[in-house]
Structures are given as C-alpha cells and as structure tokens.
Symmetry: C2
Subunit: 220 residues, 2 copies
Amino acid sequence: MSGGLDSATCLAVALADGCDPIALSFAYGQRHAAELEAARSLAAAAGVEHVECQIDLRAFGGSALTDDALEVPKEPGPDDAIPITYVPARNTIFLSFALALAEVRGATAIYLGVNAVDYSGYPDCRPEFIAAFQSLADLATRVGVEGGHVEIRTPLITSSKAEIVRLGHELGVDHARTVSCYDPDEQGRACGACDACRLRAKGFADAGLPDPTRYRSRSR
Amino acid sequence: MSGGLDSATCLAVALADGCDPIALSFAYGQRHAAELEAARSLAAAAGVEHVECQIDLRAFGGSALTDDALEVPKEPGPDDAIPITYVPARNTIFLSFALALAEVRGATAIYLGVNAVDYSGYPDCRPEFIAAFQSLADLATRVGVEGGHVEIRTPLITSSKAEIVRLGHELGVDHARTVSCYDPDEQGRACGACDACRLRAKGFADAGLPDPTRYRSRSR
C-alpha cells in the first residue's frame, strides 16, 4: 500500500471482493514520508489494519527514489528505457514480505496494485513476473507444502489510469487522500512535473472526474 | 551470510571459484546478535566487503527464531514436520534483497548456503524453490530484461554436514569463528541441545575433525 491511486483502488477492490484485508506498507528509504502518511490515512478511512515494515533499500542505492545522489526526472524519458525511478528488485522484495505476512496470518490472497500499462518500463510490473512469483510462492511456504495456496491478485494490471480512477470513484476511494508524486513537498503537495504526476493528471482528465491533487504553487 | 557453517563454507567456495564476493547479512529480529558477530568476523577474515541489512521480521512473528513468545525446541521434532524454527518466507526475502544488491552492484551470481539434506523440513531450502527463484530473478530485474542473468548458486544444497565441514576445512574456513546454535548466550556460546547444535556436533564427528564450538558449561 503505497498511498497512490493504484494501491488505494486495490484496497477498495479487496474489500469489494469480500476480503478482510491487512494493508502493508514499506518505509524503504523513500525521499518523502508523504506517501506513508497517505497510506495510513487510506487504511484508517477503510477501517483496516495497517502494518508498516522498515526496510533499508537506501543502503543499496541505484534508484532516483532511494538514492539522494540521483535526481527525480522532471521530463519524460525514452519510451523503451527502464526509468531511473525503477527500484532494483522492489516488487520482489515487497511480495516476499507480503508472502511472509500472509503465511503468519493465514491469508489466502495478496492484492498488488501493479500496472503493466503505465509502468511498462518496470520489469517487475509485468504479468510474467507476477506468474513467476506465484510459482515461487507455491513452493516457498509452509502453506504451499501443505497443499494450500496464497493467490497473488493484480486486479489493475491491464487497466489504464483513467479506468483505475473511475473504478476507485465507483468503489468510494477518497482520491484526495492519495499521493502519486515521486517528489512531493513536506505537506504532501505534488510537483506536477514528474512521470507519476503527469500520469495521474491525465488519468483524471481522461476519466472526466475532478482531480483533487494539491500542487505546489510554483509548479502550476 | 548467517555466520554458521554453511554460509562460511559458501563464502569460501565463492572465493575458490574466483569471485570477488560481497557478504550480505540480515539483522532480522533474531534472538541473538552472536551470529551477526560471527558473520562480521568471517567476512573480515576473508577480506571481503560485508553489507548488513536491517529488516523487521519480528513484527510478523510466527517463528521461534523471531518471536519471543515461542521457545526454541531443545528436543528433535517429528521427522516430517516443518520445524517451529522455520521463519516464514525467509529465504524468499533474503534472496530478494540479494537480487537487489546484485543488480545495483552488477554482480552476476548469488551464492546461498541452503542445504536440502539437514533442512529437508524447510520449504525454502529445496532445489525446486531455488529453481523457481531463478526463473523469477530472470524476469524481475533490469539485467534480466536486458538479456543478462544473475545466477543463483547453491553449492552445498546436496551436501551432508560432514561434507560441508570437510570442504570448509579444505578451503581454510576458520570454524572457530562460526556460530550455529539457535539460542547462544551473549558470548556466542552454544546451548548444545537445539537442532542446529546437534547437527553441527554430528557433522564434526562424522568428518573426523576437531569441533572448536564453545559450549555453555551447563549444557555439557
């Protein structure tokens, strides 16, 4: 649960599916705490348990999202390149922790808000990555050995951002609580210029829904 | 690099293979710091870089190795059961971090000291788990997408403990620096009664090599 549009919508889908979910967030050396605050706010609004896990990806570096020496780009990169905001093996790490939590709590599904449309440049957002993790999960755990199954569910993987905005709207997601910006200020206000801000603004525009995003004044 | 016999031997194998390894250890809410001290000592003795990563598996609970409410068993359990010392999804989490580090540093292999003989009760020590993680690693990373490969190597997976002791001896591992006990005291002295202590003692005995393990007096 990052606190962005996709994870907020994913939580709403899990609730609509009749699940009793636990929201899992990671403090992984992000540049900002605004997205963790958003995740807390969304979990509280939904009335679900929220587990926060501290992991130190900053020690590894290699991404603009975890390495202070790298700048978050404010212009689109080449279409076929893996963005510098890609965090090495991030979804592998996040899913591994989710699998551990699922095993300890007896959960039978993990919902993950990955999206292969907008994040086609991220290797670990692709359906084939999710399928490989499912195979791994079935072998890695006590529940798997005992004949059970923890199902990895990615309800948004083929959705456009506009579809995610509309679905969230239908399911009652309070979009004002979500933060998408890669580089928000201390008040959680968005830069309006990074990849994530551009995708989000286009999503609301394409969906024909009002965009409640708070922007820093200098960016608009 | 846990600081036990297997990871110490694995490091020696990587060096013998001509690699320039980085030792990676996890502080994951273990009951004791003795094994991290052992890992530091072994990495220093080998002259290799040592990365320590803090992760909070204790928050999840569910294992006698991370949950203070659960006792480390001092008698063997039933042969076919997954031991209570199994940490949910632990090797999945450890390998995910190793994959991230490999990607950031441009490493082409990950050495893991898992063993399917002595730890047959742990789902994530089996060859089929390692094969599934290899498939995942090839899909999960930038290097995989770009046609590269990070190879998961498990040189000890089919070895007996006696074979591991002998191999370590041949490769110059200082066994006195290793700690195997699940429940050592603050000085790193072993209990002599847990599964890990029993396996280790039998390994040295079967190998016909002197056992340098320091035991607490009350256990002997």
